[in-house]
Amino acid sequence: MLRSLDHLTDPAIAAESRPDRPMQLITAGGKRVSDPVLDPWVDDVDEAQMARLYEDLVVVRRIDREATALQRQGELGLWPPLLGQEAAQIGSARALRSDDFVFTSFRENAVAYCRGVSIPELLPVWRGTAPSGWNPYDVGMATPAVIIGAQTLHATGYALGCSIDGVDSVAVTYFGDGATSQGDVNEAMVFAASLHVPVVFFCQNNQWAISEPVGLQATRPIAERAPAFGIPSLRVDGNDVLAVMAATRIALDRARSGGGPTFIEAVTYRMGPHTTSDDPTRYVDPAERERWAAKDPIDRVEKYLDSRGLFTEELRASTERAADAAAAELRRACLALPQPEPLTVFDHVYVEPHSWIERQKSQYAAYLAMYEGEAE
């Protein structure tokens, strides 16, 4: 199977295989088209699986919408919507094994969902009740990295660990188009190629880094950069859940079988604001957004299923029930998040005892005792 990627390591041919139109399996209109590179990697995806992917897409969009609403209502401090990027995240994350390990930026809530992060665990960071929501070792996914690009090196290091350990687990890192300008992301590619480690670089090119269009970060397609570092790359329609899954499987398979790193550019679009604090009307051309709305990742799966007679009322209803339940759970969990105890501010700074922190903590405890006493 690896052979199918051989051509990508030769940049001369690779350039040809990455035309302006990214690789696709389901068109915006819901038509299944064939792609000789991708097809073999999803021939096991049957009707039931497509229905499950559909449910995933709908549920994570609903989670995202509900979280956005909670922020608007003042219940979350901030939320980074993934609206429009559902297929890129679901298609890739559903291709992973539980022993793989994922290092993301902060917009990858659908990836977290696929990894098994529970809905309540998505919230503490954004409600401000804790610096993170889950134990990375429970789900094989680090908590979000806010410093743009930093996590790509962590994935490279983790992958180095996998290869030292001789296991076929893979490290997968998610980052944006803007992140590709950071030194760290380029150093990660240098290290990954040089150390030949099993890491997948998954770039969601959503066309924006806050207000900056991707053209300000890169004058060539982003997927072109990796081969020059010695890392084959794939440019895939990021709104096509099936194509994304196929591309990710190719990359994972290469990694597991000792082929080293692969880079995937998933071409998608950020349909919402950068975060709930952002005002995209200042910089987004509504016509451009409209064009992308026509390529919606969920619409096309609906149409595809429908064209096969699979978009039954039962599927629609069960999916809606699942989405409703997720939204309700999100809201309930959000409001139920406990206010942290004051002295926990001193917890987990160090593993081992640290005289300075311990003194500060006990002094602050005395402070609280004294003034809480006064207040009573």
Binding site: G77, A130, G178, V345
Partner: protein
């Protein structure tokens, strides 16, 4: 004289600077159409064009390193770092290049670069958006470090920073961006390196800077109710520190409290305490007290009120240097 928010005062300072000096260029992420995430550069790209107000690729080392090259060519770059916690990828260029090039070239090359950094907490943000990294830069020879606490200073200090032939780290107290007061464009500013007594007092000197100056003034008012007269000094310049002003105050009060949001260990409070102790040892009635953020990473938003030194902790420190009952005496009794 116009009433402006602190953010708008900086915006006005940038505008006047762009108007009066063709060598000034602005660099940063999202400073163009968006006007920066805090709108501090709002409207500037529209009015001065994309060659003077430059949206850069997303890379802080790139921003600072590019500014160094511009300075080599005689420009006066003003860089915006989007949030305090994002300055570290640019740390090498700041510490090893910006700070040292004038020294390295024996005075031949100047680095009149201003690096604007919204800093500090209190806005309920996620990680990396509430930090106070000023001590790193104040410990770095070759840099000047300043911060403002009110719109008038924001305006004039920004203009002085850009006019300075030395590199200046310009820390903006982000939770005070929306503080409003009068700004007089023609006011004669204090020199950039000087502190200001913002409330006179006789018993205790309370030194603060940036976002905590307002809190310190409130604390001084509250202390007065308790019969303690607190002199509040707005430090303004963190490198150099205007020790003359602090020293004069401590010589008369005999007591010093220093407040900052940054972590305590190795923070500026230590330097001020140590330097003032060196200079005023025999005038001190009590050891200088520090009221600061704790030595933990900046915590989650719902805990930040415990991390941040507020009015009550300042008053507790005032009690401490006054020899009154305070939390430390309580602690000593317990331990």
């Amino acid at each position: 004289m116009t009433e402006l928010t602190l953010a708008k005062a900086i915006n006005l300072g940038l505008r006047r600077t762009l108007e009066s000096d063709p060598r000034v260029v602005l660099l940063g992420e999202d400073i163009g159409k968006l006007g920066g995430v805090f709108r501090v550069t709002d409207g500037l790209q529209a009015d001065f064009g994309p060659r003077r107000v430059i949206d850069t690729p997303l890379a802080e080392s790139g921003i600072i390193g590019t500014a160094v090259g511009l300075a080599f060519r005689g420009f006066r770059p003003v860089c915006e770092i989007q949030f305090d916690g994002f300055i570290y990828p640019g740390f090498d260029q700041i510490v090893a290049q910006v700070a040292k090039l004038h020294y390295r070239t024996q005075g031949n090359v100047r680095m009149p670069i201003t690096i604007r950094v919204p800093f500090g907490g209190g806005i309920g943000a996620v990680e990396h958006h509430s930090e106070s990294p000023e001590a790193y830069f104040a410990h770095t020879s070759g840099l000047r470090v300043v911060t403002c606490s009110n719109p008038q200073d924001a305006y004039s200090m920004l203009r002085e920073a850009v006019a300075s032939d030395d590199p200046v780290l310009f820390f903006e107290p982000k939770r005070r961006y929306w503080t409003k007061s009068d700004v007089d464009e023609d006011a004669t500013p204090l020199p950039l390196g000087s502190a200001r007594v913002v409330a006179p007092g006789t018993d205790v000197t309370l030194v603060a800077y940036g976002p905590l100056v307002a809190t310190a003034r409130d604390a001084a008012l509250a202390a007065l109710d308790d019969g303690i007269s607190v002199e509040v000094i707005d430090l303004r310049s963190l490198s150099p520190v205007d020790f003359e002003t602090v020293e004069a105050s401590v010589r008369s009060t005999g007591r010093l409290v220093i407040a900052h949001e940054a972590q305590q260990f190795g923070g500026l409070g230590a330097e001020i305490a140590a330097s003032i102790t060196e200079r005023c040892f025999f005038h001190l009635e009590a050891p200088p007290a520090r009221v600061t953020g704790f030595d933990v990473p900046y915590p989650a938003a719902k805990l930040e009120e415990h991390f941040l030194p507020g009015l009550d902790r300042m008053l507790d420190a005032v009690d401490r240097v006054m020899g009154r009952v305070n939390s430390l005496t309580g602690w000593e009794a317990r331990s």
